[in-house]
Symmetry: C2
Subunit: 375 residues, 2 copies
C-alpha cells in the first residue's frame, strides 16, 4: 500500500476515528485504527465494540498510489500524525509492506510495526427504515442541554443512557439520575413515525466532539433495536444501545404550581456559584431559598462558613422556603440560553420545575430537606 496524504485531511481523519479507539483492551486490535485504501478513497475505522466510527477521505487532495489495508496502534499513530503534520510544507508519504508502516515527510521518517488488518472487527451495517434528520447544531445543543444529568457510575445502567424518543415530528431527549430529570423537546422538519432508543452517554459525548455544529449541515440518525447509527459529513458512527425499557417519567411531571418565579438567569447563576465555594467534596449542604414577596434570600451554611445573599425576583403565588443542592441548579442555569427563566414550585417537599412556555426544555429538580430553624 502506498498513499500520498494531504496533512490536514490525514490529521482530521485520525482525530475523528480516535474517539472510538479502546484505551485498554484484552484485544489489542481494538487499540488500532484500520486504514483501507482503494483508488477512489481512503477509509479510516476504529471500533471498541460499544462504539465504532468510520470516516472517508476522498482522493482529490490525497492520492492512493497502491491500494491496500493495514492496522496501526492508534495512540502512537495519532502522536506521529500530529508531529509530522506540524511542519506546514509538503505531503506525507505513507507506505505499508504488510509488516512495517513508514511515514515520511520532508526530511523525517517514522517506521512502526503494523497489526493484522484482517483481525479488525468491521462496523455493522444498519437497516435504514427508522431515521430522523436533524441539524448538527441542534443535535449538539440537545446533548449539551441534557447530558449533565446522566448518572456517571453504572450501578443503574439505564441511568447512564439518554432516551431519544421520536413521535411524529417531535424528538424528545431525556436524562435522569434519581435526583433530577432533564428533558429537551425538539421540532423536526418532517413526520418520521414513532420509535425510541436509549443511547449510551459516552456515545453522545464523543459525537458532540466530532460534530462541526453548523446549522446548515445535517446528521441522519438511524434507529435499530440494538444499535443506532449517525451519518454526517464523511463519517458514520455506530453505537450499541442500552437494552431495556426507559423510566416512565410522565407521571413525575406536573404543570400545577403554587409559586412561580421569574428571575434573571445570570444574576441567579452568579449567586448560586458564590455559595458553592463553601462546599467541599462530598459535603451535601442545601442552598436555602427564602422567597418573600419580590425578594429571594439565599443562605448556605457549611462547616467552613456561611453565605447570605439577596436578589430581586418576580414572584406570583405563595411565599416559600425551599432547599436545593446548588450544583443541580447551577447545571441548569449554565445550559439554558434565556435571559429570564421561570421556576415553578409547590412546596418544600415537591419537585421544582424550570421550563419555558413552549416546553422546549423542562428541568425537574428534587428539593433537599433542611432544618428550617437554622435559616
Amino acid at each position: 500500500m502506498k498513499i500520498k496524504f494531504n496533512r490536514e485531511e490525514l490529521q482530521s481523519a485520525v482525530n475523528i476515528v480516535s474517539k472510538a479507539v479502546s484505551v485498554k483492551s484484552t484485544m489489542p486490535i481494538l487499540e488500532c485504527i484500520l486504514i483501507k485504501a482503494s483508488s477512489e478513497e481512503i477509509r479510516f475505522t476504529a471500533n471498541n465494540l460499544e462504539l465504532g466510527i468510520e470516516t472517508v477521505v476522498k482522493c482529490d487532495k490525497c492520492k492512493v498510489q497502491e491500494p491496500g489495508k493495514t492496522a496501526i496502534e492508534a495512540r502512537l499513530f495519532a502522536d506521529i500524525v500530529s508531529k509530522i503534520t506540524e511542519n506546514p510544507d509538503g505531503d506525507i508519504i505513507f507506505t505499508s509492506d504488510g509488516n512495517i508502516v513508514e511515514m515520511t515527510s520532508m526530511s523525517a521518517s517514522y517506521k512502526i510495526q503494523e497489526k493484522d488488518p484482517d483481525q479488525f472487527p468491521e462496523l455493522p451495517m444498519l437497516n435504514e427504515d427508522n431515521y430522523i434528520a436533524i441539524s448538527q447544531f441542534t443535535l449538539k445543543e440537545i446533548i449539551k442541554d441534557t447530558i449533565f444529568s446522566i448518572a456517571v457510575n453504572d450501578s443503574n445502567k439505564m441511568m447512564t443512557g439518554e432516551l431519544f424518543e421520536v413521535n411524529g415530528n417531535i424528538l424528545k431527549a431525556v436524562t435522569l439520575d434519581g435526583h433530577r430529570i432533564s428533558i429537551r423537546n425538539t421540532e423536526l422538519k418532517e413526520d418520521y413515525g414513532s420509535f425510541k432508543a436509549v443511547i449510551p452517554g459516552r456515545t453522545l459525548t464523543e459525537i458532540s466532539k466530532i460534530l462541526s455544529g453548523e446549522a446548515d449541515r445535517e446528521v441522519l440518525i438511524f434507529f435499530e433495536k440494538e444499535s443506532v447509527m449517525f451519518r454526517f459529513d464523511n463519517t458514520v458512527m455506530v453505537s450499541r444501545l442500552i437494552d431495556g425499557e426507559y423510566f416512565r417519567i410522565d407521571n413525575m411531571l406536573s404543570s400545577d404550581y403554587d409559586t412561580k418565579l421569574v428571575v434573571n438567569r445570570k444574576e441567579f447563576l452568579s449567586n448560586v456559584e458564590r455559595s458553592t465555594i463553601l462546599i467541599r467534596e462530598s459535603d451535601k449542604k442545601p442552598l436555602v431559598l427564602n422567597i418573600r414577596d419580590q425578594n429571594m434570600n439565599m443562605k448556605l451554611n457549611s462547616v467552613l462558613g456561611s453565605l447570605n445573599s439577596d436578589m430581586m425576583v418576580n414572584k406570583t403565588g405563595n411565599d416559600l422556603m425551599i432547599g436545593f443542592n446548588p450544583k443541580f441548579i447551577l447545571d441548569v442555569l449554565r445550559v439554558v440560553d434565556d435571559e429570564e427563566i421561570s421556576i415553578y414550585m409547590t412546596n418544600s417537599k415537591a419537585p421544582c420545575f424550570i421550563r419555558d412556555d413552549a416546553q422546549s426544555y423542562i428541568y425537574l429538580i428534587l428539593p433537599i430537606n433542611f432544618n428550617t430553624a437554622a435559616y
Copy 2:
C-alpha cells in the same frame, strides 16, 4: 477590625501571599493568612516555615476604619475573595470581631471562623549587609533558564537547590541533577563583594510566579548564612537556604572540543521533539546524532518504532556519532533565545556543551552509551 478593601488590591495581595501557605501541616495556623491593619497600611503574611511572604497594601484605595489583626484559613479566603471580587462594582467590607470574619460585597455576605493571629509565626528579619540588586525581568529569566535541571526528588537534597554565587559584578546561577549542569552568568550593575547561597528550587519557582517581570523594576536579594530575602514592589519573601557546600563544578567544565556545530535552534528543536513521541514514560532510548560533514542524521529506535531525520548543520572539526537523552536537549533548546546555537563535543563518551561566546549560558549534557551497530 474593620477595613474597606478595593477589590483588585485585595485579590492581588491574597494571590501573592498564597504562594507561601502550607498545603497540609500539623500546625493548622500555617494554613492561614495573617492580616494586620494599622491606619496607614494592611499587611498580609503567609509562612510555611521554609518560605514566608509578606505584602503590604497601602491605604489610598483601601481604608482601615478600625485597626486590628486576624488569621484566616487561606484556601477558603482565596476562594471567597475570587468570588466576591467577580462583580466589578463596589468595595468589600471586611470586619472581624475576634471570632468571626464577615466579608460583604453588594448583596452578598460571607461569614467564616477566624484563627488566633498570635499563634502565627512572624517572618524573620535579615541583616542587609550582603545583597545584590537585579531587574525583575533578569531574575525571572535566570530562573527559567536553569530551574529545569534541578533534581526533583530529594535523595540528594543539595541537587534540589540552585546555587546563586556573587563575585564582584557577576551573578552565577547553577543547577545540576547528575546528568547535566545549567549555568547562567549575569553581569550586575555594581560590584557587590563575594557571597553565595543554595536556594531551594521551590522558592525560585514561587517567586517567578509573583515577579511582574518588568525590566525597569528591581528586586533586592539579601544573603545571610541560613536565609535569603527578596524585596520587590510591596513584597518581601524570606526563604531558608539548603545547608552545606554546593558541588565543585569548575573541573567538570572544559573549553576544549573536537567537533563544533552551529545549528538553527528551532529546526533542531522540532527534530528532537519528533523523536520524543516514540518514548513512553521511563523508557530511556538515546537520540543518536550522526554528524557527517555538513549533515546531521538523527535516529531513535524504541519498542514503538523508529524515527530517522536529517538536517543541515555548520560543522567544524571531526565527524562524530553521539547519543543523548532527547529530553535533556529539548530542555535547553526551549529556554535559549538565540536563533543559532553552538554545540561543542569531544567524543561519544565526553560531555557536550551548549554555550554562547560570552558564556552568559553554559549547558553541560552527558551523552548516553549505545550500540553503534544498531544505528
